[in-house]
């Protein structure tokens, strides 16, 4: 086992971090909500100048590592640009296709879909690939700050998206959310040591410490699941069961971390001034599209039945054949 990321990938992650920090960090997400053009005027050029938007997560190991770590860095400040959707496009399809969304039947709104002319939507249920034709600017809603109306139309030119690209798309979401949750964890822990009530820091109260502990375990668990699934996808050992597993881990971690962090911060955490509120609202589209927990679990049950599930002891697929994992 070697758990170290390639140094070049770490370097890029640091560069993305400092570039985003230079643009204001979470402030950038606030600004983009006020003025949607911030996304293309400020953020996209910054990501382009670092080469982030050209990375192929299914490419060579170093490039792939750089892609997921850059995505994580973007997640840390909920950077308002759909880097996960751009990087999900298989290299062979670029530049003809500029974003890839996974959808569950119809779509309605998709985040940042107004930024693309050549987006495609892959149906999570094997319903094929369609064109995601944008038909409105981003229409701001509290829990969907950059959702833009789309029509899913046939005419994707018979393109086939490889299974590994779809699996990697789930992995990229997990890295993005892992970054966001890490920020929430750090904020909550720092706040707990600063805020005083009853004459002492609230961090001295057992209830607060337990919430912090649950936050840390959830964040770390998601990081491990994201990294492991990335590793398995790269080695061609993953099935959709693994992708749905990391999605479930992501949804559960987000639920736990956000709930606990809000509780630690009390009223101030609910204010728009506070990053927690912005992070909470801005991660929600990724937690709900293409589907939330209930449907993720239902699809996972089905996928385990079909493909099995690898572990210290493998769960065999329902028909008794050998797991593909």
């Amino acid at each position: 086992m070697n758990r170290a990321w390639a140094p070049e990938a770490r370097d890029l992650q640091s560069a993305v971090r400092s570039s985003l920090a230079g643009l204001g960090g979470v402030e950038l997400a606030r600004a983009a909500e006020e003025k949607a053009a911030v996304r293309v005027e400020q953020l996209r050029p910054a990501l382009e100048s670092l080469g982030v938007l050209e990375l192929d997560p299914l490419g060579e190991e170093v490039e792939s590592s750089a892609a997921v770590l850059a995505v994580r860095a973007c997640g840390e400040v909920v950077a308002p640009y759909p880097v996960t959707r751009v990087l999900s496009v298989p290299a062979a399809m670029r530049p003809g296709v500029d974003a890839l969304y996974v959808v569950d039947g119809c779509a309605g709104f998709l985040e940042h879909a107004d930024l693309f002319e050549q987006a495609i939507a892959v149906d999570a249920n094997g319903g094929g690939v369609r064109r995601a034709a944008n038909r409105s600017a981003a229409v701001r809603a509290p829990l969907d700050p950059f959702g833009a109306a789309v029509d899913l139309v046939d005419g994707a030119g018979g393109v086939a998206v490889t299974e590994s690209a779809v699996l990697m798309s789930y992995v990229l979401d997990a890295f993005w959310i892992a970054g966001a949750l890490q920020t929430v964890a750090t904020d909550a822990a720092r706040y707990a040591t600063q805020r005083r009530q009853f004459g002492k820091a609230i961090a001295t109260f057992g209830e607060i410490r337990w919430r912090l502990a649950d936050i840390a375990v959830a964040v770390d668990g998601l990081d491990e699941m994201a990294t492991f699934t990335w590793f398995q996808v790269r080695r061609g050992r993953a099935s959709i069961a693994d992708a749905l597993a990391v999605r479930l881990a992501m949804l559960e971690a987000a639920g736990s971390v956000l709930r606990n962090a809000h509780q630690v911060l009390g009223a101030i955490g609910l204010c728009e001034e506070h990053d927690l509120t912005v992070v909470d609202r801005h991660v929600t589209p990724t937690l709900i599209r293409p589907f939330g927990q209930g449907r993720t679990v239902a699809l996972l049950v089905d996928a385990i039945d079909r493909f099995g599930y690898g572990g210290t002891f493998d769960v065999a697929p329902g028909d008794g054949s050998i797991p593909t994992i």
């Binding site: 410490r209 840390a216 492991f228 679990v297």
Partner: protein, 380 residues
């Protein structure tokens, strides 16, 4: 980045499964029983593993080990735990008593104790907890009073697993009171359980035989040769032991085996149970990965409380989740012990899982440690 455990570890896993399939009877229900047949099985497993030098695979070569990698050692623990620990209580000697002796013991102590531990022929018990010293272990007070010939010990320990069958006790006693620090003044004694004045009383518990006992000390004599490490500095030894314990127990491996065996039954279960099953599989994988991370960090010398206790929290919660799920899915059929494979011991697994969040440091204490560690990181 390479998250595989490596070929030697995979090969070891395959070999262990082969051996255990050969040696364990179909109705194997674990080693904690007075049944002579169970003892025979435990003996045969120990002898066979010792013959193949698998018992001490991760010990240094100079102590009869094979200096195996940390991942081989992890696989050994995973497979043993998954198969209901067929080494019986011997696992304690192999996992932490031996290594602690290597770190703190005198040459004479190593010569006396390490060979029989390595041969799987010596059962140890851990005499740490007391009626008034549970989570707050530092407040332990069993007095060892110094006199001209050494010490005389009077009082009791409690919750001491395997004490009725143990050959030796790894005992923490108070040899002095330091007003500045209660962690000073603790001394570790290695005492044979047949030393005059030691008696054991089993405590009936929902976990079944052997797990919980009281050990009484009535004018028990100890000499300088019985002391492990420095007099009054036993807390260093205890810390070493607790560190070994907290990343050493691969509960997730048994849980993953239970889930794999439960899969067939689950296919006919109601949708809600199937959903719970899928969730448990994800939690099991997460717990395993967190444990592997902790092991890797320890190996690099960078283990934090966040990583170590976080991994434990994930494991012990998983243990209770899976135990509850297995019983739930099996329904009334799972309530009574059977003789047909692992799932027929669902009720035993369930009873034992009740202790997961208590034994070796409660989940509350683990959470405290993780929170403190997270706050320290956030400050930086």
């Amino acid at each position: 980045m390479d998250l595989d455990l490596g070929d030697p570890a995979d090969a070891l896993r395959a070999r262990l499964r082969e051996l255990l399939t050969e040696l364990l009877p179909d109705d194997w229900a674990g080693p904690f029983s007075d049944d002579p047949e169970v003892r025979r099985v435990v003996r045969s497993v120990l002898d066979r593993l010792a013959d193949e030098r698998l018992l001490t695979i991760d010990w240094p070569v100079e102590y009869g080990g094979a200096a195996a990698s940390v991942w081989e050692s992890t696989v050994l623990r995973e497979e043993m735990w998954a198969h209901l620990e067929p080494r019986g209580p011997q696992y304690m000697g192999l996992s932490w008593v031996g290594p602690t002796l290597m770190a703190f013991g005198t040459e004479a102590q190593k010569r006396t104790h390490l060979p029989p531990i390595a041969a799987g022929r010596r059962i140890w018990c851990q005499g740490f907890s007391e009626p008034e010293a549970g989570s707050d272990l530092g407040s332990l007070s069993l007095p060892a009073t110094a006199d001209d010939d050494g010490w005389v010990i009077n009082g009791q320990k409690i919750w001491t697993s395997y004490a009725p069958i143990a050959d030796w006790c790894f005992l923490a006693a108070r040899t002095s009171h330091d007003v500045r620090s209660k962690n000073r003044g603790v001394t570790i004694f290695l005492l044979p359980m047949d030393r005059a004045g030691i008696s054991v009383r089993p405590i009936a518990s929902m976990m079944g035989e052997q797990h919980l006992n009281e050990v009484f000390f009535d004018e028990v004599r100890a000499s300088r040769a019985d002391v492990l490490g420095e007099v009054d500095e036993g807390w260093q030894v205890i810390k070493y032991v607790l560190n070994h314990e907290r990343v050493g127990i691969p509960r997730y491996a048994r849980d993953e085996r239970l889930l794999a065996e439960l899969a067939e039954t689950t296919r006919d279960a109601d949708p809600a149970s199937r959903a719970d099953f899928a969730r448990a599989l994800v939690h099991a994988r997460t717990a395993r990965l967190l444990n592997h991370r902790a092991i890797a960090l320890r190996e690099q010398g960078g283990l934090t409380d966040r990583a170590a206790s976080g991994a434990r929290i994930a494991s012990i919660q998983l243990d209770q989740e899976v135990a509850g799920l297995v019983l739930d899915i099996l329904g009334p059929a799972g309530l009574r012990p059977g003789t047909d494979g692992l799932l027929s011991h669902a009720e035993d697994v369930y009873r034992y899982a009740r202790s997961a969040t208590i034994a070796s440091g409660t989940i509350e204490i683990q959470r405290m440690l993780v929170a403190r560690s997270l706050m320290q990181e956030a400050k930086q």
